[in-house]
């Protein structure tokens, strides 16, 4: 089945770049910003339309072919999980674009900025829609290239260049290793289609080539999703990027890498083959990231380490290997995209006004910027997993799933880490509410648009914390599409 109109939003970078060029030429102020915001809102609407279309189909899977039938032509296979990831990406993209309107006001080269931002969202959607390794790899590289450029966007300072170069080298090595892994899968299965490769490889015993492919996939995806031995780019790249980009990177990009890891591992291997390795990586990731986060003085750098720790919690669900555990993982992906996106955006508002990222120099900012600080307060509570925020719900399910699979030690390590993480969140909260220091006197609240975005996200965080049923049922469907409905996923391609 070929259809075009619902996927038109993936071409939004072209529309944004054209609007930008026209706006520069005929001097229409803010044309590109308005077009970028309209296009990102249109993306959310289109994903909602796609969701309805998928609900209407019999198998809840849509196939979009590009050039020929699935074995040879590239194809997109959109199931509930894909649409779940796409929804998270486009929603956060909308928030980040609206926020950029005020945040990036004084920067130059904004046409490039908005084009790259919408290309980043489109490529993340493409990665989650991909139905074969070929499409997947193309969008994966597109995601990488746009994010390397966006991290190094403020190229007149040394920080972004250094962080961007580090990220580029590590990310490129990761994605080239991924290509090697794809080559190995192609060599063993004779196809790059997910469904067909799954049919050939899933039930084979673990040969030396299959285990080599497993290691290569874990390393290749692990670089982008910042699993601990491969995490060193993240604490540099996140603080140095502009704040909306930090929110995109931390909120959805590393989770997209996790989506890739989960999808490929579950399609090609039995869960029992990789469970232990992922559990060990989860423990390493949580412990190291939380300890390092305690040492940070820079607020955005601390949030970046906290992202790595949250990635550790998400890996618990992957290592559980059941659809309940994966439901927790994907619920946490959505919740983390709201929480960490909001954390970076409200911290960005504070940094934007106070012109410093040092926590010591931000003492008492809560009395000068009350609304932004309240948002930061809520999101830090959510990241720590306090009840009444959505962070609590997903963490509870994650730890519960680990206990259900007989890995109680993993849940205990997770809970202890969750307690440890409150150590550095509480330090920031204490900084927010203490007496203002001299250098901050006379600060005003952030511009209304930035304030509006953070308040809207805070509302969603509390709303989904108190009323989590719709997201949970949505995430359950997404996780079931990956584990329980895998035969259906294969049957759609190979009747």
């Amino acid at each position: 089945m070929v259809m075009a109109w619902e996927l038109l939003f993936m071409f939004s970078p072209f529309i944004v770049v054209m609007a930008g060029l026209i706006g520069e030429r005929v001097k229409i102020a803010k044309l590109r910003e308005i077009v970028a915001i309209v296009m990102s809102a249109f993306s959310v609407y289109s994903v909602y339309n796609l969701y309805n279309m998928i609900q209407a189909t019999q198998n809840k899977i849509l196939i979009v072919t590009l050039g020929g039938a699935p074995p040879l032509g590239a194809c997109m296979e959109i199931d509930m999980l894909s649409i779940y990831m796409a929804f998270s990406a486009t929603l956060l993209g909308l928030f980040a674009t609206v926020y950029s309107y005020s945040y990036m006001e004084h920067d130059t080269r904004l046409t490039e900025y908005y084009t790259l931002l919408s290309a980043l969202v489109a490529s993340i959607v493409g990665v989650s829609f991909a139905g074969d390794f070929f499409t997947f790899f193309v969008f994966w590289e597109m995601m990488g290239i746009t994010s390397y450029v966006l991290v190094a966007f403020r190229k007149e300072n040394w920080g972004p260049i250094e962080a961007g170069f580090k990220y580029m080298v590590m990310g490129a090595i990761g994605s080239t290793l991924l290509l090697l892994g794809i080559a190995l899968v192609y060599g063993m299965a004779g196809t790059v289609n997910f469904a067909q490769a799954s049919m050939v490889l899933k039930h084979q015993p673990l040969s030396i080539w299959l285990s080599l492919a497993l290691i290569i996939f874990i390393v290749g995806f692990g670089v982008k999703s910042a699993i601990v031995p491969m995490h060193t780019w993240l604490p540099d790249a996140h603080p140095e990027a502009p704040s909306p980009i930090s929110a995109m990177l931390s909120g959805i990009l590393i989770e997209t890498a996790l989506y890739g890891l989960t999808r490929v591992l579950n399609i090609l291997f039995e869960p029992s083959t990789f469970q232990m390795a992922i559990a060990v990586l989860a423990v390493l990731t949580m412990c190291l990231a939380n300890i390092l986060a305690l040492l940070q003085q820079d607020i955005k750098r601390m949030l970046a380490y906290s992202s790595i720790a949250q990635m550790g919690y998400m890996l618990i669900g992957v290592s559980a290997g059941t659809s309940y555990g994966l439901m927790g993982t994907f619920l946490h992906v959505f919740n983390h995209s709201l929480l960490k996106g909001m954390a970076f955006l409200s911290a960005g508002s504070i940094v934007h006004e106070a012109k410093t990222r040092d926590i010591e120099n931000l003492k008492g900012i809560g009395r000068l910027m009350p609304i932004t600080s309240l948002c930061l307060f809520i999101t830090l509570l959510g990241l720590g997993g306090v009840p009444a925020t959505n962070g609590f719900v997903s963490k509870f399910i994650l730890f519960n799933s680990a206990i259900g699979e007989g890995m109680a030690w993993l849940a205990i390590v997770g809970i202890l880490n969750s307690a440890l993480s409150m150590g550095y969140y509480l330090r920031v909260m204490l900084t927010l509410i203490s007496e203002p220091i001299e250098s901050l006197k006379g600060l005003k609240e952030a511009p209304p648009l930035m304030l509006g975005v953070t308040v809207a996200m805070a509302t969603l965080v509390v709303l989904f914390g108190l009323w989590p049923e719709p997201v949970i049922s949505y995430a359950t469907e997404a996780a079931k599409a990956l584990i329980d409905n895998l035969p259906r996923y294969i049957k759609v391609i190979i009747p």
Binding site: E162, L180, Y186, L295
Partner: protein
């Protein structure tokens, strides 16, 4: 069988050289290392495509993947070169050991 040993051995050697180059000091050399790992992947794809031949034609799937990955590799390398130019403007060196201001 001899073919497999030669090609996969070359792939392995290319990956090792690429990973070794990526740990070097010079930025250009790091980029060349990345390109080498990429080409190891491409070589593996071409070799596997030749194994799935039918009626004397190799499998077009692997070959088309190689074309695409060469293009994508070119994009990544050009972004990397642009970053190196900017890094040279900032730091006046192409030695990555000097890019050490971001710690912890």
């Amino acid at each position: 069988m001899a073919d497999e040993a030669i090609f996969l051995g070359t792939v392995f050697v290319l990956v090792s050289i690429g990973l070794y180059c990526a740990t070097q000091k010079n930025m250009i050399r790091i980029l060349l290392g990345i390109e080498m790992i990429l080409n190891a992947g491409n070589l593996a794809l071409v070799f596997f495509a030749s194994r799935y031949s039918s009626m004397g034609f190799v499998d077009p799937l692997g070959q088309s993947l190689v074309f695409m990955s060469i293009v994508l590799g070119g994009c990544v390398i050009s972004v990397g070169l642009a970053l190196i130019v900017n890094a040279y403007k900032q730091f006046k060196t192409t030695n990555v050991r000097k890019l050490r201001r971001l710690r912890w």
